[in-house]
């Protein structure tokens, strides 16, 4: 178990396929300090680098430049699986966060072991089942009575709720949400978002949430960041963002980005 930590990102750069015709500068010098317990929403159009930022923090690929500090520790060169012990992640695809052919209890056992070294003790114990039932009952999906059910029997919403629970059950220092409600139908998405906010606020988790949905970004979180072309182009605190509406946000974007804004999926929902 670890406490929510401060995330400090400095001069972050990521160039994909450097030196080739396909060269893409995905992150072009990101400086970002997120105090412990802050809930940040990140918006931006396709290709703005918002998901790349999350993956960079998670350690999915080596950086082209810059540093990442988490809770005062430099994790820039730390392998993905080492960092993952203190970073919880939920992906867009509900299938990504759970192991489909394993049972609910086996999946949750794995998430309970996150920060520990997995040994040759029994994975699913009665003591762990107690914890699982208590946590699952908060989802109000009746999953606490189906511990031995295969995860592939669950709906997308149930699987995403499980993913969220698995990402947060071991009290991560940092929670990364990558459009985690985008693939769900609107009603289910709203439920998962409410659940997310409840967990994040209750545990005071340091959270980065990438979303396409401006309304979500305005409604949830203590801070809103807009990305464009691999840079942070707008950074609003809670007070500033509380006075804004979706229309203002689009206007702001025009001001900062200075080009026609691809409204695409952002206005929907």
């Amino acid at each position: 178990m670890s406490a929510p930590a401060t995330l400090d990102v400095g001069g972050l750069r990521k160039v994909f396929f450097p030196g080739t015709a396909n060269e893409v500068v995905a992150l072009n010098g990101i400086d970002l300090e997120v105090p412990a317990g802050q809930f940040v929403s990140i918006i931006g159009s396709n290709g703005s680098g918002k998901s790349t930022l999350l993956n960079a923090v998670a350690g999915t690929f080596p950086l082209s430049g810059g540093t990442i500090t988490l809770g005062g520790r430099d994790v820039t060169k730390q392998a993905e699986h080492v960092r993952s012990r203190v970073i919880g992640r939920v992906f867009q695809d509900p299938r990504a966060g759970t192991a489909p052919s394993m049972t609910i209890e086996e999946n949750l056992a794995i998430s309970l072991l996150r920060s520990k070294r997995s040994g040759l003790r029994r994975g699913v114990t009665n003591r762990r089942r107690e914890v699982m039932r208590a946590q699952l009952s908060r989802l109000h999906m009746g999953l606490e009575d189906r511990l031995k059910a295969g995860v592939n029997k669950l709906s997308g919403g149930q699987r995403q709720a499980m993913s969220l629970l698995m990402a947060t059950i071991a009290e991560p220092s940092l929670l990364l949400l990558d459009e985690h409600t985008a693939a769900l139908d609107p009603k289910v998405a709203a439920t998962i978002m409410e659940l997310t906010a409840a967990i994040v606020i209750e545990r005071g988790l340091t959270t980065l949430m990438v979303t396409h949905n401006m309304e979500l970004a305005l409604r949830y979180g203590d801070r809103l960041i807009m990305m464009h072309g691999g840079r942070v182009v707008l950074d609003l605190d809670e007070q500033q963002k509380s006075t804004l509406e979706v229309g203002d946000l689009i206007e702001k974007f025009h001001e900062v980005a200075g080009e026609a804004f691809a409204v695409d999926r952002m206005l929907l929902e």
Binding site: R95, A99, R114, G119, R122, G123, A167
Partner: protein
């Protein structure tokens, strides 16, 4: 008839360790591992060479298993070298190539270990004779079935226990959803290598036992192991079902026995032994394509 059944059971049980190994790689790790065609004769070669060299058959068998585990680790390390940086677990190219490379290299290694292409083990003490002497029994027919069957049950329960430990869960998840288990802080490179080591250790155990039971180790005895293993896995799953890990481990052992029974019957019906590999390949193709064909037929 009784001879057919007892010899099929004997073969099925001796080969069930190999089939369990193939199950572990193909099904649990989602790693189609072709190392097995080389690690089976490796187990035989190491055991054969050590027994001929005057070592105890028990030590020789254990060493064969150890050598198989090393072969599995080599494949795991080769896979690390061959896969591109950003891991895509559904990219089977590097996995297949890693296994093929180890398998090919093992051909030379096996010849080097044996010093020739065939080591006869007649008139020397094998693990079966040792056991027979200890129990004052002649190790033929049903006695062999019982002895190997007991070992199969022990190995089955060991695997069952392992797959239910904390480490076992990470092993299962490595094959089921690698992205998820990495995000949960597990080094999947490590779990995969351990899984490959265990699987190839099991395959080498079969090689070692086959050599001691049929009385020779031969460099060509591994040919077609992967296909025979797959046939056993698929038959076990289809005939006996796969409701849980504990159950499917039994199913796979059952599949191994049914496969050897079918071979025994085929031979009895006058099919040439040399035609069996083609038949097995056809069998695997049919079994693997049934789901695809069925879904197409339903759609039409």
């Amino acid at each position: 008839m009784q001879v057919i059944i007892s010899s099929a059971l004997e073969q099925g049980l001796i080969y069930c360790f190999m089939v369990l190994g193939v199950f572990l790689t193909f099904r649990v790790l989602d790693f189609p591992d072709l190392t097995v065609d080389g690690s089976l004769p490796l187990g035989a070669a190491v055991t054969g060479a050590l027994i001929i060299g005057g070592h105890s058959p028990l030590l020789a068998t254990a060493a064969g298993v150890g050598a198989g585990m090393c072969a599995g680790m080599v494949t795991g390390f080769l896979h690390l070298l061959l896969k591109s940086g950003e891991s895509d677990s559904t990219n089977y190219g590097p996995k297949l190539l890693a296994g093929i490379l180890t398998m090919t290299a093992l051909y030379t290694v096996n010849l080097r270990i044996m010093g020739r292409s065939n080591i006869p083990l007649l008139g020397v003490d094998t693990i079966f004779e040792k056991l027979g002497n200890a129990l004052s029994l002649t190790m033929i027919g049903w006695n062999v079935v019982l002895a190997v069957g007991a070992l199969a049950i022990v190995v089955k329960y060991l695997l069952d226990w392992l797959l239910h430990t904390e480490f076992g869960l990470t092993l299962l998840a490595t094959g089921d959803n690698e992205q998820m288990i990495r995000a949960m802080g597990t080094n999947t490179n490590f779990t995969r290598i351990v899984g490959l080591a265990i699987a190839n250790g099991l395959v080498a155990l079969t090689g070692s036992l086959v050599a001691q039971q049929q009385g020779f180790a031969d460099v060509g005895m591994g040919l077609g192991t992967i296909v025979a293993g797959l046939a056993g896995v698929i038959m076990g799953e289809v005939i006996f079902g796969m409701r849980s890990i504990s159950w499917v481990l039994f199913s796979v052992i059952g599949g191994s026995i049914v496969y050897r029974l079918l071979i025994a019957i085929s031979l009895r019906l006058g099919i040439a032994p040399t035609d069996l590999k083609l038949l097995t390949a056809v069998l695997v193709v049919v079994a693997l394509s049934i789901p695809t064909v069925r879904s197409k037929v339903v759609r039409l």
